[in-house]
Each structure stands twice: as structure tokens, then as C-alpha cells.
Assembly symmetry: C2
Amino acid sequence: MTGIKDDGAWRENLLRIAPYVPGEQKETPTLIKLNTNENPYPPSPAVTEAIRAFHVDALRRYPVVDAGALRRTLADYCGVSAQEVFVGNGSDEVLALAFKTCFNSEKPVLFPDITYSFFPVWCRFFGIPFEEIPLSDSFRIEARAYAVPNGGVVIANPNAPTGLGEGKDFVESLLEANRDSVVIIDEAYGAFGAYSAVPLIRKYDNLLVSQTFSKSRSLAGLRLGFCFGSAELIAALDDAKNAFNSYTVSNLALEAGKAAVADDAYFREQLAKVVRTRDKTAQALRGMGFTVTESLANFLFVTRAETSARALYAYLKEHNILVRHFDRPRIENFLRITVGTDGDMDALLGKISEYTDKRGV
Amino acid sequence: MTGIKDDGAWRENLLRIAPYVPGEQKETPTLIKLNTNENPYPPSPAVTEAIRAFHVDALRRYPVVDAGALRRTLADYCGVSAQEVFVGNGSDEVLALAFKTCFNSEKPVLFPDITYSFFPVWCRFFGIPFEEIPLSDSFRIEARAYAVPNGGVVIANPNAPTGLGEGKDFVESLLEANRDSVVIIDEAYGAFGAYSAVPLIRKYDNLLVSQTFSKSRSLAGLRLGFCFGSAELIAALDDAKNAFNSYTVSNLALEAGKAAVADDAYFREQLAKVVRTRDKTAQALRGMGFTVTESLANFLFVTRAETSARALYAYLKEHNILVRHFDRPRIENFLRITVGTDGDMDALLGKISEYTDKRGV
């Protein structure tokens, strides 16, 4: 470097923030990748067709600012109006913008101590005060713990990494106790069998429900997320988006997203496959002495008292199976294992047996 | 609506912000769209090929977090290292994240009173104090006006909507006067003939230079932008990005972007066409009594004392030609006209003649 030395005063004004750490994203042909809750099946053939048929010359134009056609498609699919839908560059962007839009109180935003670890990162990024509410000993979210003054509430349902889902009664009691704050329900994993709060947006105008194309629609690489809420909340979110980046979703992603939603038969068939494999794998792991939470998501959260989760993680990685271990209080002896194909899970179970047999642990 | 009435206290904590207002994005077959500085030519055929050849099944996976391959491509193209490149979802996202990353002083960030109107919007969005420095009477940016204590400096070069570009001496004197702040040069329109400050990032580690695929590479609809800076600034920007959205650029956009950069011959040929049409159109407009700034961008900024810009805008719109009029002090009698094809410009010139002849104005 031949840079002129300065006194570096500009460094004092740089943002210093510990970012969210996603699961490793590597691709080696032999790797069984069960660490980032991706779908083991490809997207709908209709998505491939839409991308092949896409008129690439149209990319010289900006997209429509409001991603209108995809909003209408999602609205029709979910039985709401287009004014009640917001679309963004992955549900992470949707949630980040929702935090910035809805959480401007001096009171803390509340979420569980064990949940999607991006929640505290967004709060720090935007300078939003927050408080983590402990899950129960059985990792349940207790609605009454959120019946305290707050600047907002965020719940992942089903929760991650536990996989546990809460039902309509829980969500309604949470909403009844929080008429003065925006309540965000992150349903990133909702399609795999959990209760969805989307119908409640007409009853509670302070409710925002986010979903994504990444997991259930096998489109993690496309970056497409969305949320539902009252027209008033969605309008505020639109203003925030348009004060950050006018066009967050590409023309190509809009077309691919519409095609994915249209092919509902494929979607349902492939969800059912993941759910079958999940439940079968959970049963097998229980047979091997593991405690497995009742996952309603596309991953399993597993532990075994006599087995070190960290050591098992390392053993699996050594054998080309990547799962996720969180070095965090209360869950340091758990592994989060994405549901892959039946073949992936057989390989996983084989390696886990090998490990526990070898070590007698 | 059958919503339960609440007292609406949650509304008090909603962000209220006046968003950036982009040019109308409408598409009717007969419209000559000269209002959003899009390229009149399609993207490189190599982009079409890359999208056609894209293995859509790969979309089930998240992209690599750092958009590594595209960073390396851009680094090689510009003669810097990959650690000196950041990639984002359009240069608007890159700039928004750069504001959040670099401008955390209590002193105001400085930019011209007439420039890209997203600058003040980002400041309001992130709560960054700012001060607008008047352009000279001839719409030039005066470096000495920025030699005052500040929390950062942002300059678009060439500037928008004036189209005027500043050279190396200007940029270096701006940097010499601002060793204690980050200086951002937005080169969204840089490829159309202006001086680029990219080589200066090795000399000034507080310099960030942003560029985009939207204009010069005909990929506005793809959403792809990038910036160059010292490895230290880029690392800070990466942390900020990863505290907002881990994966901002889709697998598809990464592939398309690489293909666009690789086809340099097409890029240069098509830039030359836009520049030729720009200069020819400027001359024709001057011949019709318009004052036209010395644009180094892909648009013209024009005025004529005896002609109302607002009325001419409306006349052109009525005749299916969309240009941009800004209802703002100092420039309310100007129009910003994107450079289209020669045919587009002939149609434009014809309608302008018709208007001025008819009215004798």
C-alpha cells in the first residue's frame, strides 16, 4: 500500500457492529449440506420455464417500484388484498425494514432469548432497545411473559432453532396483550405444518406476518420474501423501503416468484415429502436415544445427554455432513439438522450411529 | 374492514418519512421513455446466454455471502483487489449501507443542494445530520465549499440532474480537504465519459467510489451495484450489510453480472452510441435556442428562458414522450432528458419544435 497516512479520524465515525453469522455456504459435490435449512428439492419446473422464457432485454428497464404483479399474485393466493402485501429482497430485508418502520419506541422490543439470532442484530443496527424473554424450560414461548409494556414484539413461528410452533390461541393472546405495539410473526418455516396468523391481519391492524420463498419454495438463491399486514402498516413499510432502495426486487425475481406461486401442486407435493422425511428422521433419532423437539419446520433440533453436540458436529463435518451447532447458553448441547432427502438422512443417521457406537456415547 | 378498534398507540411508533420519488415506471408499447436514465440498448447478448444457461435448480441454495466471484470479476476489471470491492442490490443499496456505515458523526454530512435527491432521504432514514451546499451559479461543485468541518462528503460525479462532471484535480482537492471524513463519489453515470476516482482508493483510504450496472450496462431491472474503497472501509461495509441482510444479491444476478463485465467490447460499443446520440441531440437543442449543460452522463439537462419547462414536460407527456421535470428551486425551468436511440431523440426534437413553433415560445 502506498496510501498517504492520515490521522484516521474518519475511522471514529465508522459503524462497529457484530454481524449476523449465517451457516457456512460452501458447495463441494460430496457435501451433505444440512446447515442452512435449504430445501433438498429443486424449485418448481415452472420457475425454470419462467426464467428460460424471460425476455432478458427487459432488464434495461427498472422494475415497477411496488413489485405490483407479485403482490397481486401473493394476495390472491392468500385471500387478502394487494394493499396488504409487501415484497422484499428476502424475508431478512422485509424484517429489517419492518423493525425500522415499526419499532420507534423508547421501550424495548421483546423477543425470546432463543430465536432467530438476526433479531438482536437488527435492533443494534437500527439502535432499537430490546429485551430477550427466556423461553420456558421446555423451550415454549409463554404469551404472558409478553404482557408487559414494550416497544414491539417479534416471534418466529415455528421458532428457530427449536422448531416448536405455537397455535392460534397463543397468537391471539399475544395480540390481545399487545394492542399498543406492532407484533411481528416471522413465519419463514410456516409452510411445513405450523399455524399461520395471516387471516388475523384483518382483525389486528398492528400485526405483521412475514414469509419467504427461500425454504418452502426452494428459492433461497433468488432472494424473495414478503409480509402481510393492514394496509396502513404496509403503506408505512413501503415508505420506509422507498427511503432505502426504490427497487429491491429484480424483474427476473418477480417473474420467477409468480411462477413458483402458480405451481401449487408441486409446492404441496414437495412440502409433504420434506414433512415425511422430517417425521421419519425424528423417530429414528428418538430410537437412538436422542431428544428431538416436535418440529413443525424443515429442521430438527436434537440433543442427547451423553453425547457432546460440539464433538458430534465436528465428527459429521469431518465426514462431509454439515449441520449447525450454536455455541450459546441453554442450547450448546443441541444440533440443528436441516431435513434433506431420505438419502441425506440415511447417511446422517448412519454417521451418527457410527459415532455413538464407536465412542459408546 | 371488520378489525377490532384499538386506540392505535402502536401508530405513534411508526416511522414517518417522505420517501425518494423515482421517475414514473410505466410501460406502454408506444411510450418513448426518457425519464429514468435507462439505457436504450439491451444488455449484452452474453447476459442473455448466462441467464439461459443458468442452472435454476441451484436456486434452492443461498448465494455465497460475499458475492465473491462477482467481486473478483469487478476487481480484475478495475485493477484492484477483491477486498477493495463491495457488491449490493443496486447502487442505491450500496449507497444506503455506505451512509449507515460511514456517517456516524454529529457533524453534518455535506452534499450539493442540487444532486441525487436520494442523499437527503438516506440521511433522514438513518438520522444522519446533513447540510446542502449550493452549487455555483453555473451549477459547478466548488471544492473549497467542502473544506469545512463535516461528518462526511457525498458527491455524484457526473452530478445529477446537471450532468456536469468534475475532474481529477477537483476530486483530489476535495479529498485533501477532507482527511477526517469519508468521501463518497457516486459514479452511477461515470462510464459515459467522466473522470473516475477509482484509482485514488489506494491513495486515500477514506474514499468510497460507487458504480452501477443499471445505466451503462443496461441492467436496471437486475439490481446490481458496487463500490470500491480501502479494504478497511469495505470490511466495515460488509459488517453493516451482514447486520442488515446476509444475502443481498441473487445467484442469478451474480452470474448475469459476471457475463456483463466479461463482454467489454459490447459495453464500449454501446456506450459510444449513447455518447454520440447525446452530443448530437445537445447540438440540435442548442440550435433551437436551448441552453444545454455539458453533460458527461446519459441524459441532458436543458432549459430555455422563454419556454416553460413544466408546460413542455406536459406537452411531451401528452404526446407519449416521458421526460423528467423536478419541481425544485433553481431548476424548476429545466428538463432532464434521458438519451435514447437516435430515433427516440428525433421524435423528441420533432415534438419540441412543434411545441415551440406552435406557441412561438
